[in-house]
Symmetry: C2
Subunit: 134 residues, 2 copies
DNA sequence: CTGGGTGCAAAGTATTTGCATGAAC
DNA sequence: GTTCATGCAAATACTTTGCACCCAG
């Protein structure tokens, strides 16, 4: 709520619901946002979800996460981090590792000026690894 | 052509054209593949492009690249590499840097088993930086 | 010859847009 | 009261599917 104000976004129940879901789930798709909010708020329209997500992205308030084999996910903007994505269960986990070394490597090489980076690790999460080794 | 055979994909003019375009452009979208091939081969259908791209992905012959703010792009599978993506002109450049250090960092942390990683750097390419500083 | 590929049209899914109404400030 | 958000329906974009026909091996 405070967050929305700070980003000059008018507060509506729909928007609060979206933000709360993102906070709760960390990473969530448009479809899931729509369905979950609808449970308690049946008048919500899909168009509203799309419009708000786009508005929030323009205000740099949320990020879009594109992941191979999954729907786009959205997350609240926070400190820089990378993602661990489980190919078995689809879970997405934030991980805070230092990617500066890599970025310096790139800067040293060519004339490319890095502004941001997207680092995703695909593999098997702890829980799925535990299951399959049984 | 040799490549297609090795991946057990039947050779057709449509497929050869797709592979040649990927080789020429490095990273290309479905729409661009369709339009460029159509110039010399007007009977090509979009459905064929989609079917072939899906078949080639299943055969691990090409990769899908999802990039924020761009259509999906496809590239021939080759050695592991990362991508430099220019936010100004949209260009995509391959870069060969060692990401093993990062992966080890992750492995040491939790129980996540990495199989592959996707590293994208977003920023300004050499050419665009040169323009804007004039 | 035979299986798989192609092109077309239709269906399915995802996303955007216009507009009248309604809510936020 | 004004501005902007919402919900609906329609439009657009993207992707897949079924099927008759055709070509590569």
């Amino acid at each position: 709520m405070q967050l929305l104000k700070e980003h000059n976004i008018k507060i509506t129940p729909q928007r609060l619901a979206i933000v709360h879901l993102m906070d709760e789930y960390g990473h969530i798709s448009v479809r899931d946002i729509f369905e979950k909010i609808r449970e308690n708020f049946p008048s919500l329209s899909l168009a509203t979800v799309y419009k708000n997500i786009n508005a929030m992205m323009e205000n740099n308030f949320i990020n879009e996460l594109k992941i191979v084999g999954q729907e786009n996910k959205y997350e609240l903007v926070k400190e820089r981090h990378s993602h661990l994505i489980c190919k078995k269960c689809g879970s997405i986990e934030d991980i805070y590792i230092d990617t500066e070394g890599l970025e310096n490597l790139v800067s040293d090489t060519g004339g490319f000026q890095i502004e941001e980076s997207s680092v995703q690790f695909l593999g098997t999460c702890k829980a799925c690894a535990a299951h399959s080794s049984q």
